[in-house]
Symmetry: C2
Subunit: 141 residues, 2 copies
Protein backbone atom coordinates (compact mmCIF):
# COMPACT_ATOMS: atom_id res chain seq x y z
CA UNK A 1 0.00 0.00 0.00
CA UNK A 2 3.09 2.17 0.11
CA UNK A 3 2.93 2.27 -3.68
CA UNK A 4 2.97 5.81 -4.93
CA UNK A 5 2.57 7.18 -8.43
CA UNK A 6 6.24 6.64 -9.29
CA UNK A 7 6.10 2.88 -8.74
CA UNK A 8 2.43 2.21 -9.56
CA UNK A 9 1.79 -0.04 -12.55
CA UNK A 10 -1.36 1.82 -13.60
CA UNK A 11 0.34 5.23 -13.33
CA UNK A 12 3.18 4.01 -15.56
CA UNK A 13 1.34 1.89 -18.15
CA UNK A 14 -2.14 1.73 -19.69
CA UNK A 15 -2.49 -1.93 -18.63
CA UNK A 16 -3.54 -3.21 -22.05
CA UNK A 17 -5.00 -2.03 -25.33
CA UNK A 18 -7.12 1.06 -24.65
CA UNK A 19 -10.67 0.44 -25.94
CA UNK A 20 -12.21 3.67 -24.69
CA UNK A 21 -11.10 6.59 -22.57
CA UNK A 22 -12.19 9.92 -21.23
CA UNK A 23 -10.24 12.37 -19.04
CA UNK A 24 -10.99 10.42 -15.85
CA UNK A 25 -10.73 6.74 -16.78
CA UNK A 26 -9.88 4.18 -19.47
CA UNK A 27 -11.25 0.77 -20.47
CA UNK A 28 -8.44 -1.62 -21.32
CA UNK A 29 -8.18 -5.06 -22.90
CA UNK A 30 -5.29 -6.79 -21.11
CA UNK A 31 -5.32 -9.94 -23.30
CA UNK A 32 -5.06 -12.48 -20.52
CA UNK A 33 -5.49 -15.85 -22.23
CA UNK A 34 -6.80 -17.53 -19.10
CA UNK A 35 -9.65 -15.03 -18.74
CA UNK A 36 -10.95 -14.46 -22.25
CA UNK A 37 -12.88 -11.22 -22.56
CA UNK A 38 -11.80 -9.72 -19.25
CA UNK A 39 -11.67 -5.91 -19.40
CA UNK A 40 -10.43 -3.47 -16.79
CA UNK A 41 -11.66 0.04 -16.09
CA UNK A 42 -8.75 2.03 -14.68
CA UNK A 43 -9.19 5.38 -12.98
CA UNK A 44 -6.75 8.02 -14.30
CA UNK A 45 -5.81 9.47 -10.93
CA UNK A 46 -3.89 7.46 -8.31
CA UNK A 47 -6.50 6.86 -5.61
CA UNK A 48 -7.22 3.57 -3.84
CA UNK A 49 -10.93 3.39 -3.06
CA UNK A 50 -14.29 4.35 -4.54
CA UNK A 51 -14.96 6.28 -1.32
CA UNK A 52 -11.78 8.32 -1.89
CA UNK A 53 -13.67 9.96 -4.78
CA UNK A 54 -16.40 12.54 -4.42
CA UNK A 55 -19.88 11.39 -5.38
CA UNK A 56 -19.83 12.84 -8.91
CA UNK A 57 -16.44 11.21 -9.67
CA UNK A 58 -17.58 7.91 -8.16
CA UNK A 59 -20.74 7.71 -10.23
CA UNK A 60 -18.94 8.83 -13.40
CA UNK A 61 -16.56 5.87 -12.96
CA UNK A 62 -19.38 3.47 -12.05
CA UNK A 63 -21.22 4.52 -15.22
CA UNK A 64 -18.22 3.39 -17.32
CA UNK A 65 -17.98 0.10 -15.36
CA UNK A 66 -21.65 -0.67 -16.02
CA UNK A 67 -21.29 0.38 -19.68
CA UNK A 68 -18.40 -2.09 -19.98
CA UNK A 69 -20.59 -4.83 -18.51
CA UNK A 70 -23.28 -3.96 -21.09
CA UNK A 71 -20.75 -3.89 -23.95
CA UNK A 72 -19.35 -7.32 -22.96
CA UNK A 73 -22.83 -8.83 -22.63
CA UNK A 74 -23.88 -7.44 -26.02
CA UNK A 75 -20.67 -8.56 -27.72
CA UNK A 76 -19.92 -11.95 -26.10
CA UNK A 77 -23.24 -13.19 -24.63
CA UNK A 78 -21.63 -14.74 -21.54
CA UNK A 79 -23.59 -16.84 -19.02
CA UNK A 80 -22.81 -14.45 -16.15
CA UNK A 81 -20.95 -11.21 -15.43
CA UNK A 82 -18.58 -10.64 -12.51
CA UNK A 83 -17.53 -7.18 -11.29
CA UNK A 84 -14.79 -6.52 -8.76
CA UNK A 85 -12.68 -3.69 -7.39
CA UNK A 86 -9.91 -5.24 -5.28
CA UNK A 87 -6.54 -3.49 -5.70
CA UNK A 88 -4.72 -5.26 -2.88
CA UNK A 89 -1.57 -5.58 -5.00
CA UNK A 90 -2.01 -2.44 -7.10
CA UNK A 91 -3.90 0.05 -4.92
CA UNK A 92 -4.80 2.27 -7.86
CA UNK A 93 -8.56 2.18 -8.37
CA UNK A 94 -9.51 -0.27 -11.14
CA UNK A 95 -12.43 -2.56 -11.87
CA UNK A 96 -12.32 -6.07 -13.29
CA UNK A 97 -15.28 -6.63 -15.64
CA UNK A 98 -15.33 -10.34 -16.34
CA UNK A 99 -17.54 -12.37 -18.66
CA UNK A 100 -18.11 -15.88 -17.31
CA UNK A 101 -19.20 -19.09 -19.01
CA UNK A 102 -20.46 -22.26 -17.35
CA UNK A 103 -17.57 -24.20 -18.88
CA UNK A 104 -14.84 -21.69 -18.11
CA UNK A 105 -11.85 -22.75 -16.07
CA UNK A 106 -13.16 -21.61 -12.67
CA UNK A 107 -16.96 -21.50 -12.98
CA UNK A 108 -18.88 -21.27 -10.67
CA UNK A 109 -15.97 -20.15 -8.51
CA UNK A 110 -14.49 -16.66 -8.75
CA UNK A 111 -11.59 -16.48 -11.23
CA UNK A 112 -9.11 -16.09 -8.37
CA UNK A 113 -10.03 -19.45 -6.77
CA UNK A 114 -8.57 -22.86 -7.52
CA UNK A 115 -9.60 -23.92 -11.04
CA UNK A 116 -12.48 -26.37 -11.42
CA UNK A 117 -11.19 -27.86 -14.69
CA UNK A 118 -8.21 -27.75 -17.04
CA UNK A 119 -7.82 -24.60 -19.03
CA UNK A 120 -10.11 -24.78 -22.03
CA UNK A 121 -9.20 -21.60 -23.76
CA UNK A 122 -12.21 -20.02 -25.35
CA UNK A 123 -11.20 -18.60 -28.71
CA UNK A 124 -12.45 -15.08 -29.20
CA UNK A 125 -12.39 -13.63 -32.69
CA UNK A 126 -9.61 -11.16 -33.47
CA UNK A 127 -12.28 -8.50 -34.01
CA UNK A 128 -13.64 -8.75 -30.45
CA UNK A 129 -11.68 -5.80 -28.93
CA UNK A 130 -12.87 -3.54 -31.78
CA UNK A 131 -16.46 -4.73 -31.34
CA UNK A 132 -16.30 -4.01 -27.59
CA UNK A 133 -14.80 -0.58 -28.33
CA UNK A 134 -17.64 0.16 -30.75
CA UNK A 135 -20.23 -0.99 -28.23
CA UNK A 136 -18.68 1.29 -25.57
CA UNK A 137 -18.74 4.24 -27.96
CA UNK A 138 -22.42 3.58 -28.71
CA UNK A 139 -23.39 3.13 -25.04
CA UNK A 140 -21.39 6.04 -23.66
CA UNK A 141 -22.20 8.73 -26.22
Amino acid sequence: MALDEATCLFCREPGGKVLWRNPTCRVVWPEEPEQPGLCRVVYARHVAEMTDLDEAERFALAKVVFATERALRDTLRPDKMNLASLGNLVPHLHWHVIPRWRDDRHFPRPIWAEPMRPATLRQLGADVPQRIASALERILT
Copy 2:
Protein backbone atom coordinates in the same frame (compact mmCIF):
# COMPACT_ATOMS: atom_id res chain seq x y z
CA MET B 1 -28.46 -20.18 -13.34
CA ALA B 2 -31.73 -22.08 -13.53
CA LEU B 3 -32.40 -20.84 -9.99
CA ASP B 4 -35.72 -19.09 -9.77
CA GLU B 5 -37.31 -17.22 -6.88
CA ALA B 6 -38.68 -20.42 -5.30
CA THR B 7 -35.23 -21.97 -4.85
CA CYS B 8 -33.09 -18.82 -4.52
CA LEU B 9 -31.32 -18.39 -1.18
CA PHE B 10 -31.67 -14.60 -1.20
CA CYS B 11 -35.37 -14.76 -2.08
CA ARG B 12 -36.00 -17.14 0.82
CA GLU B 13 -33.74 -15.69 3.54
CA PRO B 14 -32.26 -12.32 4.48
CA GLY B 15 -28.72 -13.79 4.38
CA GLY B 16 -27.69 -12.47 7.79
CA LYS B 17 -28.58 -9.85 10.35
CA VAL B 18 -30.18 -6.91 8.53
CA LEU B 19 -28.23 -3.73 9.33
CA TRP B 20 -30.16 -1.41 7.02
CA ARG B 21 -32.84 -1.75 4.41
CA ASN B 22 -35.03 0.21 2.07
CA PRO B 23 -37.70 -1.08 -0.34
CA THR B 24 -35.11 -2.08 -2.98
CA CYS B 25 -32.18 -3.58 -1.07
CA ARG B 26 -30.79 -4.61 2.31
CA VAL B 27 -27.34 -4.54 3.95
CA VAL B 28 -26.70 -7.76 5.86
CA TRP B 29 -24.08 -8.96 8.34
CA PRO B 30 -23.57 -12.65 7.58
CA GLU B 31 -21.16 -13.32 10.48
CA GLU B 32 -18.63 -15.36 8.56
CA PRO B 33 -15.79 -15.89 11.02
CA GLU B 34 -13.17 -16.26 8.28
CA GLN B 35 -13.99 -12.85 6.82
CA PRO B 36 -14.48 -10.55 9.77
CA GLY B 37 -16.46 -7.46 8.88
CA LEU B 38 -17.74 -8.70 5.51
CA CYS B 39 -21.14 -7.20 4.66
CA ARG B 40 -23.42 -7.99 1.74
CA VAL B 41 -25.79 -5.66 -0.07
CA VAL B 42 -28.63 -7.78 -1.46
CA TYR B 43 -31.08 -6.48 -4.05
CA ALA B 44 -34.71 -7.16 -3.09
CA ARG B 45 -35.86 -8.30 -6.53
CA HIS B 46 -34.55 -11.50 -8.16
CA VAL B 47 -32.37 -10.17 -11.00
CA ALA B 48 -28.88 -11.38 -11.91
CA GLU B 49 -26.89 -8.43 -13.21
CA MET B 50 -26.42 -4.69 -12.63
CA THR B 51 -27.28 -4.19 -16.31
CA ASP B 52 -30.61 -5.97 -15.79
CA LEU B 53 -31.65 -2.88 -13.80
CA ASP B 54 -32.59 0.46 -15.29
CA GLU B 55 -30.14 3.28 -14.65
CA ALA B 56 -32.01 4.77 -11.69
CA GLU B 57 -32.29 1.37 -9.96
CA ARG B 58 -28.63 0.60 -10.69
CA PHE B 59 -27.35 3.82 -9.19
CA ALA B 60 -29.68 3.55 -6.20
CA LEU B 61 -28.12 0.15 -5.42
CA ALA B 62 -24.57 1.39 -6.11
CA LYS B 63 -25.17 4.26 -3.68
CA VAL B 64 -25.90 1.75 -0.89
CA VAL B 65 -22.82 -0.32 -1.82
CA PHE B 66 -20.57 2.74 -1.60
CA ALA B 67 -22.25 3.84 1.64
CA THR B 68 -21.48 0.39 3.07
CA GLU B 69 -17.83 0.79 2.05
CA ARG B 70 -17.79 4.17 3.82
CA ALA B 71 -19.48 2.77 6.93
CA LEU B 72 -16.98 -0.11 7.14
CA ARG B 73 -14.00 2.21 6.67
CA ASP B 74 -15.30 4.60 9.33
CA THR B 75 -16.08 1.80 11.78
CA LEU B 76 -13.19 -0.67 11.27
CA ARG B 77 -10.34 1.32 9.67
CA PRO B 78 -9.22 -1.55 7.41
CA ASP B 79 -6.07 -1.37 5.25
CA LYS B 80 -8.03 -1.85 2.01
CA MET B 81 -11.59 -2.34 0.79
CA ASN B 82 -12.70 -4.94 -1.76
CA LEU B 83 -16.00 -4.77 -3.66
CA ALA B 84 -17.42 -7.57 -5.78
CA SER B 85 -20.63 -8.64 -7.50
CA LEU B 86 -20.19 -12.25 -8.61
CA GLY B 87 -23.34 -14.36 -8.12
CA ASN B 88 -22.17 -17.43 -10.04
CA LEU B 89 -23.69 -19.75 -7.43
CA VAL B 90 -26.56 -17.52 -6.34
CA PRO B 91 -27.51 -15.42 -9.38
CA HIS B 92 -29.53 -12.95 -7.33
CA LEU B 93 -27.81 -9.57 -7.46
CA HIS B 94 -25.69 -8.99 -4.33
CA TRP B 95 -22.47 -7.19 -3.51
CA HIS B 96 -19.70 -8.33 -1.21
CA VAL B 97 -18.24 -5.35 0.69
CA ILE B 98 -15.09 -6.65 2.34
CA PRO B 99 -12.70 -4.90 4.72
CA ARG B 100 -9.16 -6.23 4.28
CA TRP B 101 -6.14 -6.13 6.56
CA ARG B 102 -2.51 -6.77 5.62
CA ASP B 103 -2.38 -9.67 8.09
CA ASP B 104 -5.70 -11.25 7.13
CA ARG B 105 -5.81 -14.83 5.97
CA HIS B 106 -5.64 -14.11 2.23
CA PHE B 107 -4.04 -10.68 1.85
CA PRO B 108 -2.98 -9.54 -0.72
CA ARG B 109 -4.94 -12.20 -2.58
CA PRO B 110 -8.71 -11.99 -3.05
CA ILE B 111 -10.60 -13.77 -0.25
CA TRP B 112 -11.62 -16.55 -2.66
CA ALA B 113 -8.00 -17.54 -3.43
CA GLU B 114 -5.82 -20.01 -1.56
CA PRO B 115 -5.01 -18.61 1.90
CA MET B 116 -1.61 -17.00 2.44
CA ARG B 117 -1.44 -17.87 6.14
CA PRO B 118 -3.29 -19.80 8.83
CA ALA B 119 -6.54 -18.31 9.97
CA THR B 120 -5.80 -15.59 12.50
CA LEU B 121 -9.29 -14.61 13.43
CA ARG B 122 -9.58 -10.92 14.01
CA GLN B 123 -11.84 -10.33 16.98
CA LEU B 124 -14.40 -7.65 16.29
CA GLY B 125 -16.29 -6.17 19.22
CA ALA B 126 -19.85 -7.37 19.76
CA ASP B 127 -21.04 -3.81 19.11
CA VAL B 128 -19.61 -3.68 15.58
CA PRO B 129 -22.83 -4.59 13.68
CA GLN B 130 -24.72 -1.88 15.58
CA ARG B 131 -21.96 0.65 14.88
CA ILE B 132 -22.04 -0.17 11.15
CA ALA B 133 -25.84 0.11 11.17
CA SER B 134 -25.60 3.53 12.82
CA ALA B 135 -22.97 4.65 10.30
CA LEU B 136 -25.23 3.52 7.42
CA GLU B 137 -28.16 5.41 8.89
CA ARG B 138 -26.04 8.55 9.17
CA ILE B 139 -24.58 8.24 5.64
CA LEU B 140 -27.82 7.33 3.88
CA THR B 141 -30.20 9.80 5.47
